[in-house]
């Protein structure tokens, strides 16, 4: 049996363990041999996107040491996966790093492209808004992008359609950025918050009870805004919905 290494990004580990647990349980349910290498920390993206990619050698080496042995590496975060795919380099283990870049998957793409999941047996009887995180969508091509003249497809929708009782709501701007953007949310606080407020409002006016997505970081940002507004809308990582019921 192929071995799957579970890559749980640092902020998911610390603040959203439920997204990690749901990912783990879902993969186990699907009959996979899943291991969480306990020596992992972070993919290094927060530093790299801030212009400090040169400081990420240690993170990169740790990542390689933790994950090189697996057949697949799966993570509930499109943005972190994209970072690994595009920027994981090490001097000491260049070949291993190159191999990792080709076998790291975001959860949704792993379920759709590799496992070809057709029947999830999940149940979630709620109105759900899907947030297309930019790095997942435009970087990993999880969904067709509204800017391009090309046939439509959506991997997260393909999975959510298998969830009993779930009603996916329509959005006015289906793939607009929420404004999280890593350290952008701190450095550009004013614009980041305004983007988040607008993103959340689109879900609100269209009757969402939950906002979901394949990137917990965008959801964390929107959750912060929802809570400040005393909104009843909750955020859930897509793994938690696909694992529900």
């Amino acid at each position: 049996m192929k071995r799957v290494g579970l890559f749980i990004p640092c902020y998911v580990d610390q603040f959203y363990p439920n997204a990690g647990i749901a990912t783990y349980q879902l993969l186990k349910k699907l009959g996979l041999d899943v291991t969480y290498p306990t020596g992992q920390t972070c993919c290094g993206q927060p530093m790299a996107n801030s212009g400090f990619e040169h400081l990420t050698q240690n993170c990169n080496q740790l990542f390689v040491d933790n994950f090189a042995e697996f057949d697949y590496i799966v993570s509930p975060s499109g943005s972190c996966v994209l970072h690994i795919k595009e920027h994981l380099h090490t001097e000491k283990s260049a070949e291993k790093a190159a191999a990792i870049r080709t076998k790291v998957y975001e959860l949704v793409e792993f379920l759709v492209d590799i496992l070809k999941v057709k029947n999830l047996k999940a149940k979630f009887p709620h109105k759900v808004g899907l947030h297309q995180s930019c790095h997942g969508q435009r970087g990993l091509l999880l969904t067709q992008m509204s800017e391009l003249v090309a046939p439509y497809f959506s991997k997260p929708q393909q999975l959510l359609a298998q969830v009993e009782g779930l009603e996916l709501i329509d959005l006015k701007r289906e793939d607009e950025c929420c404004g999280f953007g890593g350290t952008f949310c701190i450095v550009e606080e004013a614009v980041s918050v305004k983007m988040g407020k607008d993103r959340v409002k689109d879900h609100q006016v269209n009757g969402a009870e939950y906002i979901t997505g394949a990137d917990m970081s965008c959801l964390m940002h929107m959750e912060g805004i929802l809570k400040r507004e005393n909104s009843k809308i909750k955020v859930l990582h897509i793994a938690e919905i696909l694992n529900a019921g």
Binding site: P17, M47, S50, E147, C185, I225
Partner: protein
């Protein structure tokens, strides 16, 4: 070289104080982005066109020197007087000298972002000349003594009531007028008078054709034509990257330009200039101003493919909510943020960070510039060259220290969660930019790692 200026986060925070205005700015530009989508989707071969345009531009840049020499030769043969300017200063001097030679003190200009980049108006005004911008949007910002906030829609940040006030002050329109019809009429009368009395006209250049030595200017108001056709002297200014190899390539760009910019099938006027009419003098100034330096930077060379459609601005969720002036540069938005650091790294060190790297800009770009990838690369260069703030450097070093060791990471995570849970005011205060308008995440009872240890291993 650098002049102190406020940074993008500071300027956009000011813009965001008026949320209604931000909403209106965002919605207006989004409406244009939607028009662009509709227009693009009506062309089944849209993506092929983009690829073609990208390849033509790659070819043009790879053989730039040859094409420029060929262009100059043909243009001269057509009777155009060709000048070369190494930088903004030289460009301004050349224009000034041409006007001086003819004893002309008044210039009518049709929108040219290059002259904005070179600060030509400021320069000529200091020499005692009068410059009138003839495109409506440009004229409005000129009356307001502001730079354009968008390369295609220069006064998109102004509401019609504000334009009414400006026209009341400067053009004698009745106070309180905000009817676009009346305002446009007033501008038209004022500009007609300008066209009829100016002896020199300056236009930009959208495309210069190496094969024939002719150039094309695209406008919606026809002002370039009115200026150029009525004036004794026509001066056209272009960045050296505006060259395309052959006339047959023009169709590819004309199909893409207006659709990307505003959703129109084509600009109202695509005017071809090949030679001066009898009795007219036609000058063409080819400007470098940092372009050959950018050519030499492999990672950023593709930014020179830009055809100035502004699609990246309209789609950019950050631009829409921060306004063009927050970029404190002639060219704003995502493309401006990759062009500006080429000219002055220190002054524009903030701009590559004014993005979430969402990638929408690269997707709408009609010549397929990898805009968001270049923003990422500029961030690395800017930090390596020492333009990061010391607090940012410090926090990144701490982050690196923490994340380099699983043990330290776990301890720090636990400590952080403990602080959030038991002394939340240590983080929930105004020193924390996250907390200002957002709540912190709720603290879970254990990390994933701790759960895994207990439940799996």
């Amino acid at each position: 070289m650098s002049t102190p200026t406020k940074t993008h986060p500071e300027l956009s925070a000011v813009f965001n104080k008026d949320e209604q205005r931000v909403n209106w700015h965002d919605e207006t530009l989004w409406w244009i982005r939607q028009k662009r989508d509709k227009s693009a989707h009506s062309i089944p071969e849209w993506e092929i066109l983009r690829e073609k345009a990208s390849q033509i531009k790659n070819n043009a840049l790879a053989n730039l020197a040859e094409y420029l020499v060929s262009f100059e030769e043909k243009a001269k043969a057509n009777g155009i007087i060709v000048h070369w300017a190494a930088d903004a200063q030289e460009h301004n001097q050349i224009v000034h000298q041409i006007l001086q030679k003819h004893g002309i003190l008044q210039l009518v200009k049709s929108k040219s972002m290059l002259t904005e980049e070179c600060h030509l108006n400021e320069y000529l005004e200091k020499q005692g000349l009068e410059v009138i911008d003839s495109d409506l949007g440009e004229r409005i910002v000129q009356l307001a003594k502001e730079p354009p906030s968008h390369i295609v829609l220069p006064c998109i940040h102004k509401k019609k009531e504000e334009i009414g006030d400006l026209f009341h002050q400067h053009l004698g329109v009745a106070a309180g007028t905000s009817d676009p019809q009346i305002l446009t009429e007033a501008a038209r009368v004022h500009l007609r008078e300008t066209f009829l009395t100016r002896k020199a006209a300056l236009t930009g250049v959208n495309f210069a054709i190496a094969e024939t030595g002719e150039f094309v200017v695209c406008t919606n108001e026809g002002n370039a034509d009115m200026g150029a056709h009525l004036a004794d002297v026509h001066i056209a200014c272009m960045g050296i990257e505006k060259i395309i190899p052959k006339r047959k390539h023009l169709g590819v760009f004309l199909r893409l330009l207006a659709r990307s910019a505003t959703g129109q099938p084509i600009t109202t006027y695509s005017s071809h200039f090949k030679k001066p009419r009898a009795g007219q003098e036609m000058h063409l100034v080819l400007v470098d101003n940092g372009r050959t330096v950018q050519m030499g930077r492999e990672d950023f060379r593709a930014s020179l493919k830009c055809i100035r459609c502004g699609a990246c601005m309209n789609t950019c969720p950050v631009y829409r909510r921060s306004g063009g002036h927050s970029y404190h540069n002639a060219i704003s938005g995502p493309i401006g943020a990759i062009l500006a650091p080429n000219l002055d790294r220190e002054k524009y060190a903030d701009l590559p960070f004014a993005s979430t790297l969402c990638g929408s800009c690269s997707n709408v770009c009609p010549v397929k510039i990898d805009i968001h990838q270049q923003l990422y690369k500029w961030r690395q260069v800017i930090v390596q060259e020492g333009y990061a703030t010391s607090s940012k450097k410090m926090s990144m070093k701490i982050m690196n220290y923490t994340l380099s060791s699983p043990g330290i990471y776990r301890t720090a995570g636990k400590a952080g969660r403990w602080v959030l849970k038991y002394i939340p005011f240590a983080v929930n205060n105004h020193f924390n930019p996250w907390y200002k308008q957002r709540d912190m995440p709720e603290v879970p009872k254990e990390s994933f790692g701790e759960w895994y240890k207990k439940n799996v291993k």
